[in-house]
């Protein structure tokens, strides 16, 4: 089935053949996977790279003189270059391999412990995932700095006027996600970064939800830190990246001590390795890093423009179909949003809907999506969240709509 969208000939059935997991059944029904905002599926091209690594190159990197180690190091460093190119970083040493977004955030938050004082303020948005709230709360507890919140409106958008009022010379850091995981809102990060820089504050953008849909341009954004995870963008779990401007990465102290991150060690004093290794203590997830690079290759081959256009069509279609169900309410109706629909049906608990959908082979997320402050804002226990990827189809959305209708009938 070819799906012609805005003059783009996008052969979704051919794309689906790249993803072996999409052939499996769940509870006797074909899997309909709509939990992409939690973890995307992995194409054969990326799985092959992992298998190839363990079959042909497995060894430790950066230190060996033997050929295997050299080859593995080359592949790993090539992956770093791919990430650099993908986010348009100026230098490859501004790309730090991490275990994922949470690791990247904690690395920066811990680094700032020595740079903040009690009168300083840090701003975090009301739309954040717990992983972009808790490390900053911990940072504030350690330093005595004050954590302030950029509020959101009913549509799930940040209130930029209030943000401007919150900014002052005391503001040292601002943390915002590029896209909200719970609602799909695309935040105006260009504006947020510009305004923060005017008062001299650094900005960290959590790109976990944006990287599957948008190619970030860190130089154009002039962002200080940008973090993401490979498993949200067709890569493996347990690997991600932190982009940091060189000047900031030089300023921050090392996060963990260990091998790889040192230049020289004596019992009197250790000197640290240069960037990026200063932040990469211990043997990294080598296969994961290389596969991260392969995932970027894969997504580029499909094309981010095509992905964005196709997913937007899915979003529009699903939104219209779901809203036709009586009593269904969508949370997060920002003008700028990605292919995420968070919803509830009147008088029905999201957990019940998710349970019935699972019996029908449809994977959605239910609960607070690690964003309790957003649920508190709407005064709800949670939502059902369907998040789409470019390998999903309209037929799958029809299955979801039928499933929701059935759940509603059974549960009402």
């Amino acid at each position: 089935m070819n799906d012609t969208i805005n003059h783009i000939n996008f052969d979704v059935e051919s794309i689906r053949k790249d993803f072996p997991i999409l052939n499996r059944e769940v509870n006797g029904k074909p899997l309909v996977y709509f939990d992409n905002a939690a973890t995307s599926q992995t194409p054969r091209q990326v799985i092959d790279v992992i298998v190839d690594y363990y079959t042909n190159y497995n060894s430790n990197i950066h230190r060996g003189v033997h050929s295997l180690s050299q080859e593995a190091t080359d592949l790993y460093e090539q992956a770093r270059l791919k990430i650099q190119e993908h986010v348009n970083a100026k230098y490859n040493h501004e790309i730090i391999f991490t275990s994922g977004t949470t690791h990247g955030i904690n690395l920066v938050a811990t680094g700032f412990s020595s740079l903040l004082k009690p009168s300083d303020e840090v701003l975090v948005s009301a739309l954040e995932h717990h992983s972009n709230i808790v490390p900053w709360q911990m940072l504030c507890e350690r330093t005595g700095a004050l954590l302030k919140v950029i509020p959101m409106n009913e549509e799930g958008e940040l209130v930029i006027d209030t943000y401007e009022n919150l900014l002052s010379e005391q503001t040292k850091l601002v943390f915002v996600n590029h896209i909200s995981n719970a609602l799909g809102t695309i935040n105006p990060i260009e504006t947020i970064i510009k305004k923060a820089h005017k008062v001299g504050a650094a900005v960290l953008i959590d790109g976990a939800q944006s990287c599957p849909h948008i190619k970030p341009n860190v130089q154009e954004l002039d962002v200080d830190f940008y973090v993401t995870s490979a498993h949200k963008m067709c890569g493996p779990t347990g690997v991600g990246m932190l982009y940091g401007k060189e000047e900031w990465l030089r300023k921050l102290p090392p996060y963990q001590g260990g091998g790889e991150m040192i230049a020289e060690v004596t019992f009197e004093k250790t000197t640290y390795a240069d960037l990026p290794h200063k932040f990469e203590a211990g043997t990294p997830n080598i296969a994961g890093g290389i596969a991260f690079g392969a995932a970027i290759d894969y997504m580029n081959k499909v094309g981010f423009d095509v992905i964005a256009t196709y997913e937007h069509k899915l979003l529009e279609y699903a939104t219209a179909q779901l809203l036709a169900i009586d009593g269904l309410k969508i949370y997060g109706t920002a003008k700028e949003k990605t292919a995420v629909i968070s919803f509830n049906i009147e008088h029905i608990h999201p957990y019940d809907i998710g349970t019935i959908l699972d019996k029908m082979g449809i994977a959605v997320r239910t609960g607070h999506h690690c964003a309790q402050p957003i649920m508190d804002f709407y005064k709800i226990p949670g939502t059902v969240r369907a998040s789409f990827a470019f390998y999903n189809t309209k037929a799958e959305i029809d299955a979801l709509v039928q499933g929701v209708k059935k759940a509603k009938m059974m549960l009402s």
Partner: protein
């Protein structure tokens, strides 16, 4: 009836259902008929926090038997609670302590008692047993 007899009765009842839909519809209906916990016990003191659904449990002892009432904000969770209450309520503390919950596997609801399900049911069973242990101590 003993706990084992009630469990066997429930296994027989569920044996009549042909597919998951009938099983779940039955549970949902059970959830709707569950005698609600007295509102005064629907507080933080009696809550068992699951990540997804909340469960409230209250216990009291009359004539050496423990009587449980409970509620949840999710109906399927409530249906399973109704089954658990039917099994464990109005029993001697010692019998509650010694009872197992294998029957849940046999009626095809095992997934709801998985510790990773985060619906509060695993903690609820622990709580029922804790109440039973406390009352047993009073009897000794």
């Amino acid at each position: 009836m003993t706990i084992t007899e009630i469990q066997n009765e429930i296994i027989d009842e569920f044996g009549m259902f042909d597919d998951w839909e009938e099983r779940y519809q039955y549970m949902i209906d059970l959830g709707k008929t569950l005698p609600l916990i007295n509102e005064q016990y629907k507080t933080q003191d009696y809550i068992i926090k699951g990540c997804q659904s909340k469960v409230w449990v209250h216990a009291e002892m009359n004539d050496d038997k423990v009587k449980f009432t409970a509620d949840s904000d999710a109906i399927i969770t409530k249906g399973i609670i109704a089954i658990l209450i039917r099994v464990f309520s109005n029993q001697h503390p010692k019998d509650i302590i010694e009872a197992n919950t294998d029957f849940i596997d046999k009626i095809g609801l095992k997934e709801h008692l998985s510790p990773t399900r985060a619906n509060g049911l695993v903690s609820m069973i622990k709580q029922l047993k804790m109440y039973a242990i406390a009352y047993q101590t009073q009897l000794n």
